[in-house]
């Protein structure tokens, strides 16, 4: 594994941490005060900082550090995570994400923005309120009268420490006077294994004050018996600083669990001792000693008590436990503090344990997406092949009980199971996309000076990864439009008697084998008069064209259409909604808009769960074989002549259990035949469409039910209205998959080719 691979893994983890961070912050924003949520947020930033430090990503580290400090104030209940605070934090999370991306892909970030946020974060960490805080960092250090450390820090230009430690000082009465600490730092091999470096830690430590270091090399064995990856050195440090013990410990925070660390006030007092001293009689674990301190046979007696006493302990196993509390004072304190770090700082330790437990419960692996895709393609071909095989066996072998047939049936089941499992690999919750949207809402709201709340629902709805990936772009466009065009300014909202804060609601749910994503805003709705005028100005429609409200609403999906008075950065370049519509259609989906003037607009997108397979009913229409998605079909029935009623000139209704349902001749709608077929000779498929209405689709015959692999028509041809996609049947021929909703919409009088109609009208 080279460095780049490790770095790539770090960035992948960063992405997860950033998602965790954002969802945590959003939870806090919604009033969640669970300490575990705060901890999760803190942990996320902490991990990013840790990893970034290992890779020398200084910008990232310095920002994460300030962020973390502020979060720590929240964690320790020194800072109330109210709306204002969270606003800053959410922005910081965005900047952190930007910095991470910049670190990965190169490029630059808005330095002014991150500097501004660092200031805001520092202010939060120092003061209690965002507004009051601005002056404080300047005011505070003066009474403390710290002679050396603070300026030194700044001169070296070391940003992580450039923020003030005032928050520690206010809570650390011990540290007001410069005092001398005796620090024992004994790294374990794990510390080095994790990429930390004792030198760097010591260097950081030296920035806290005047320091003298004594390196204890007594553990170092003879060269022959030395394990090159083991840790042998320990350091005794005497540090004179006005920072508290906490500041010292924070230097070691990434190394905390991988070293023995003892911080004592000079004179033997255990600094911050209260909780830790009672921890001393922790049973002394000899096996631990044996493991972690390598035998050093040739080492002479030394001036360092620790090593000597440890050796003593090993010699006399029986008395070790009994004498632990007095004889092995030093060694034990080290152990005890390590122990107490684990148990007394219970929150973080418990989380770590919980995290470990969770990851132990469901081990996961990272797999290259290409590999999964290849597998899915292969399984797709397998399904086609299996269908072709079945068909040829049926054609050649009329004996239905032969072993070949039984084997085939099992093969069919297996193929299906393989396919389901493979598809499950790709199924992912839509959450990451939704989370990205909350950032976009924040940014747009900032730019437009509007106050917006994004409410998301059903973010755990699972859908194929490809669908998720392709969803982000159209959704971004739509969110931008909703905030920029949809919502009014706060003043206008108040004037209209609405809450000044606009709401954008993003919902995902499964509905009859598809995923339906709804984006609703409570803004002004579509200004139909304006849209109409614009369409006339742009020659999209004739000035005297008679359009229904629905048709006018749908004009916004037309290419080159934008009603924004002034072209803004955010939207209004007229490439928005038609791009959205096209990308949704390319996914085999549909998009609808319904708008109520004064109450807002709702965009409804319906997308397939997977882009690979579909359960379908194979039917014949005018000698053509078509596939109707099974999910759309409610029931099938053989109409009787008495159930068919003519309605007007060309419409026919079918009575089903005393209710009347419009009859739609699929062959006629698709232009496969010129005259309507006789319903009695065919089969009616009762379908339910997105709009909610039921329709009876007339087909000539049902051939059977089959799982089909979806093939794109757009790849080599073009989108065909009324047709969702194509597939390849067992006989090797292409069959078209019906787009039931489009057919139903067409039967409602809307043309199958709305765009062409418009072009003709213009």
């Amino acid at each position: 594994m080279d460095m780049n691979e490790i770095k790539e893994i770090f960035f992948q983890e960063c992405e997860e941490q950033l998602a965790e961070l954002e969802s945590g912050l959003l939870k806090l924003n919604d009033g969640d005060r669970d300490p575990e949520t705060v901890n999760a947020v803190f942990r996320a930033v902490h991990s990013i900082k840790g990893g970034a430090g290992a890779f020398g990503l200084d910008d990232l580290v310095s920002f994460a550090h300030v962020f973390e400090t502020t979060l720590d104030c929240v964690r320790s209940n020194r800072l109330e995570p109210n709306q204002d605070v969270l606003k800053v934090m959410l922005k910081s999370a965005d900047v952190l994400a930007d910095l991470t991306n910049a670190a990965r892909d190169g490029g630059s970030v808005d330095a002014a923005r991150s500097r501004q946020l660092i200031k805001e974060l520092e202010a939060l960490a120092n003061g209690e309120l965002p507004q009051a805080a601005v002056a404080e960092p300047v005011a505070k250090p003066a009474p403390v009268a710290a002679p050396t450390p603070a300026p030194v820090v700044n001169e070296e230009g070391f940003q992580p420490v450039a923020f003030s430690f005032d928050d520690f000082e206010t809570n650390e009465p011990l540290a007001i006077e410069p005092s001398t600490f005796e620090i024992l730092f004994r790294p374990k091999s794990e510390l080095y294994a994790k990429g930390n470096d004792a030198t760097l830690l010591l260097r950081d430590l030296s920035r806290l004050g005047e320091m003298s270091i004594h390196c204890d090399m007594d553990e170092l064995p003879a060269l022959a018996s030395m394990n090159p990856e083991a840790a042998y050195f320990a350091w005794k440090i005497s540090l004179k600083t006005d920072k508290g013990e906490e500041a010292i410990r924070s230097v070691f925070e990434f190394a905390e669990w991988d070293c023995e660390l003892d911080v004592m006030l000079a004179g033997g007092d255990h600094a911050g001792a209260g909780e830790e001293l009672p921890m001393q009689p922790v049973p002394f674990d000899l096996s631990m000693l044996d493991e972690e301190v390598p035998a050093s046979p040739g080492a002479a007696e030394d001036d360092d008590q620790v090593a000597a006493q440890q050796r003593e302990a090993r010699d006399d196993a029986v008395s070790a436990a009994a004498t632990a509390s007095n004889v092995l004072q030093m060694a034990q304190t080290a152990r005890a503090s390590a122990e107490s770090n684990r148990s007394a700082a219970s929150a973080s330790a418990a989380q770590a344990a919980a995290q470990q437990a969770a990851s132990a419960a469901t081990p996961t692996i990272r797999v290259d997406l290409d590999r999964v895709d290849r597998l899915i393609n292969l399984v797709g071909e397998l399904v086609i092949n299996q269908a072709m095989l079945s068909q040829s066996v049926i054609e050649n072998d009329t004996n239905g009980t032969s072993s070949i047939n039984m084997g085939l049936e099992e093969l069919q089941q297996l193929t299906r199971e393989i396919q389901d499992s493979v598809m499950a690999i790709r199924a992912q919750p839509v959450k990451p996309v939704f989370q990205r949207m909350s950032r976009i809402v924040r940014e747009i709201a900032d730019m437009t000076g509007k106050s917006v709340r994004l409410v998301t629902e059903g973010e755990n709805t699972e859908v194929d990864k490809t669908v998720i990936d392709k969803l982000a772009e159209p959704l971004t466009h739509m969110i931008r439009n909703a905030v920029d065009h949809g919502l009014e300014t706060p003043e206008k909202r108040v004037a209209a008697g609405k809450n000044p804060e606009g709401t954008v609601r993003l919902t995902a749910k499964h509905r009859s084998g598809r995923i339906v994503i709804e984006l609703a805003d409570d803004g002004a709705g579509i200004n139909r008069e304006k849209v109409r005028q614009k369409a006339i100005d742009n020659d999209l429609i004739a000035a005297d064209a008679n359009l229904s409200d629905e048709e006018i609403d749908n004009l916004i999906f037309h290419a080159g259409f934008s009603t924004a008075d002034k072209i803004s950065d955010i939207s209004g370049r007229g490439v928005g909604m038609d791009v959205v519509k096209r990308s949704i259609q390319a996914l085999g989906g549909r998009i609808n808009i319904s708008s109520k003037p004064g109450h807002g607009s709702v965009f409804t997108m319906s997308l397939p769960l997977t882009l690979a397979v579909l359960d379908g009913m194979v039917v014949t229409v005018a000698n053509q074989t078509l596939v109707v998605p099974l999910t759309a079909i409610v029931e099938t029935l053989q109409p009787e002549a008495s159930a068919i009623h003519s309605f007007g000139a060309s419409q026919r209704l079918i009575s089903i259990r005393n209710s009347f349902c419009p009859l739609v001749d699929v062959g006629r709608i698709l232009n496969f035949r010129a005259i309507q077929a006789n319903p009695v000779e065919g089969v009616a498929l009762l379908v339910e469409s997105e709009g909610g209405g039921q329709r009876a689709l007339m087909v000539d015959a049902i051939q059977g039910q089959r799982q089909v692999v979806i093939k794109s028509l757009e790849a080599n041809y073009t989108h065909v209205p009324g047709i969702a996609a194509a597939t390849i049947l067992g006989d090797g021929r292409v069959a078209l998959i019906l787009d039931v909703d489009a057919i139903v919409a067409a039967s409602r009088g809307q043309s199958l080719k709305p765009e062409m109609l418009l072009a003709a009208a213009g």
């Binding site: 053509q624 041809y717 292409v734 078209l736």
Partner: protein, 155 residues
Amino acid sequence: MTYAAKNLTTGGRELIAFRVGGQEFCVNVMSVREIRGWTPATAMPHAPSYMLGVINLRGAVLPIIDFSARLGMKPAEPTVRHVIIVAQVKSQVVGLLVDAVSDILTVADADIQPTPDIASDFERSFARGVLAIEGRMICLVELDQVFPHEEREAA
């Protein structure tokens, strides 16, 4: 003159000649992926009349265009003797139904005569020139123009 630019290195170009309704046409060999026999196509709804439908080309959906009908001549009545030229047009792969493939020609750019200006706009739109080979007249076809891009963009 992108064609000329492409073929500067070889000094000439290879063309595949085919017959449709008694006339001869040719296309650049580089755009032809394969030549295969006719298989029944699945009709597409709302398609132009020259669009015969789609066939399965080893798992991909391939639209088939009746070249004769596309040129406004008599629509073909496909039989097993008909041939489909599978061609790459921009990013898409499409099939061209023709009566037969007749020849592979290597010609120099100088041999290509400009399209006579008596031709109607329609023919001029896809004809890139004419060739005189052994007393026959072969029309060089620009495939980009044969496939209905305009409609694709409008939809």
